[in-house]
Assembly symmetry: C2
Homo-oligomer: 383 residues x 2
Amino acid sequence: MPRHPRVAASVESMPGSVYSALAHRLATHPGETYPLHVGDTWMEPAEGCRMGDLSVAEHPGMHRYATPQGLPRLLELAAARIGERSGSPCTPAQVLVATGATGALGAIAGALIEDGDEVLLAAPYWPLISGIVRSFHGRPVPVPLIGEAGSAAAAVELFESRRSDRTIAIYLNTPNNPTGALMPGERLRSLDEWATRHDLWILADEVYEDYVYSGEHVYLRSMAPERTFSVHSFSKAYGMAGNRCGYLAGPPEVMGELRKVSTHTFYSAPTAAQLAGIRALEGIADAWLAAAVERYRELGRAAAARLGVAPPGGSTFLFLDVADRLDERGLEGFLEDCVDEGLFLAPGPSFGPYPTHVRLCFTSVEPQRVARGVDVLARLLGR
Amino acid sequence: MPRHPRVAASVESMPGSVYSALAHRLATHPGETYPLHVGDTWMEPAEGCRMGDLSVAEHPGMHRYATPQGLPRLLELAAARIGERSGSPCTPAQVLVATGATGALGAIAGALIEDGDEVLLAAPYWPLISGIVRSFHGRPVPVPLIGEAGSAAAAVELFESRRSDRTIAIYLNTPNNPTGALMPGERLRSLDEWATRHDLWILADEVYEDYVYSGEHVYLRSMAPERTFSVHSFSKAYGMAGNRCGYLAGPPEVMGELRKVSTHTFYSAPTAAQLAGIRALEGIADAWLAAAVERYRELGRAAAARLGVAPPGGSTFLFLDVADRLDERGLEGFLEDCVDEGLFLAPGPSFGPYPTHVRLCFTSVEPQRVARGVDVLARLLGR
């Protein structure tokens, strides 16, 4: 038992944040820095939906608690958008507003997982999902797809090979962080059928749905809404990561269970962030978003070209295998060489079994600075 | 296993929110309503630390992620305040900024609890703590103190009678929500000694520390900082409940473990809310707070006088035993009679084994409306 001074074994065995280990180096680097390890944007949000645009004159009580499920107007707008985009009708009662996709996935994990239950994670995956599953005493099981899943049937086979009698759910993130790839509709359909056959829940992390540069994002919700949770965020779509506001849609029967967990981990999403989200969904940020998509598309293409890799299909990331540039110090040595030149990258192992990969975000700082950081990396890679 | 369509048994067995069941009645009541069931304030926050006062011109990047532990300036200010008030030194590394006290206590519970571990809750307790313990698969064990713990020795005896070999921690909330009582220093010292003897962690929920009308708030941290987590909030102190920002201080050795959980349940507290918190701790809201204390004190005294009970020593609540007014419909019937007149109260069982109690918040709406709501209650109680 975790009596003083011990803590829970499940948490103790979790790795700490790789980012925070870098914070000191970042703060003390003498020259220009390129913090491309962070998934964020240099753009300020659209005018009209910044915090400074929200006044108590217009929104009396805007610093009070919101209703735990979310402000009614936001639930209504989110449900309409989800229904329209996925083609599968969605009611406000099926929506939960949360402290970003992190809070949303936490509420799902908390509601579903019993001790030792396993969640299959399509890898590479968004790093926090692994820790979210572990925080609620589950076991994350990576299913590495890069270079392995050439077809829908191969992908299903990979998932099947990791399935056990403790498997309760699968997690898919498309458009993908870290690869920038979109999972093809045919593959999603096959995985959906397979998950249905085995009574598994489906967690569809779609926070980059708005950033698609080639191909089409397919909504898992359109296939099996009765078992699918769709996770969305204002953080990525509208440059509001610091607001901590996102939302999810799920089967009506279990939303009350999710609300029990969300109420007890963050109570309600920040009220002002929800007001900003309402403004964004009402259309005030449409032009901002359209412009961001075009800029991000160009930035992704330019970074990929400089590094000699394929341009991303979506999201704001590139994921590179740097195996051929590693010496006896391994990935850590390579990352240190980068840091020596002010360049910060996220290490592959944060995203699954990728000991020789690195991730960079090509929107984390202003474009010229990203370009200089990408140059540093290209030189280190001899490209 | 929670395969589709099942969810985790531990969550399924949790009660849903009593408040949300009332939401429909509140929205459709024809006359004036008195929603005194909510713990919030009618006051807008101090000028200078409202969302509308925060501009991207002054705070570029204020919609980006904050560092997961909290903004460095806020950590510094919070540590200084905690150290000064408790008399036990505190460093920024010992502080975690969270999505309110809810997120803070969630991070503590997540880091400490293994399946089936028990947390002793001094009752009556803040309702969410029970669900927080259960969300992380622990077992909340109420220790009812009202009318039972006349002395420090009696309080220790009550705790000892509930202790088992699965007990890992005790939770104390003072100034208390819902009773408004302050736990005397002598009792805290005895409980602290007893907890130390049994290697228990101590969770000190001190979110009403600024609202003390008589007596003195004693910080548990001053006694056993090596095993104590102190939980604080901007929600109550500065009327910022909707901002979702609070902070906690704990033993340095385990703060990294807490950060693992907070990172995976809400990632970081909202950046703008942290900026508002910085402004508040820098002093811009001092006059607001001093005025709020005086107004709340008067409101508590007036409500107590009208209801014929003792004035609260702190916090913003009164907790009344209405046993002598219940008919065969029990508490539910009484609460419905209240709702028929537009008055909403929180039911006693949310706070522990209190089947004949109700809680009211005397700051949840503007003072005149609170007074009319209190009048409704006084009439129903024949007072």
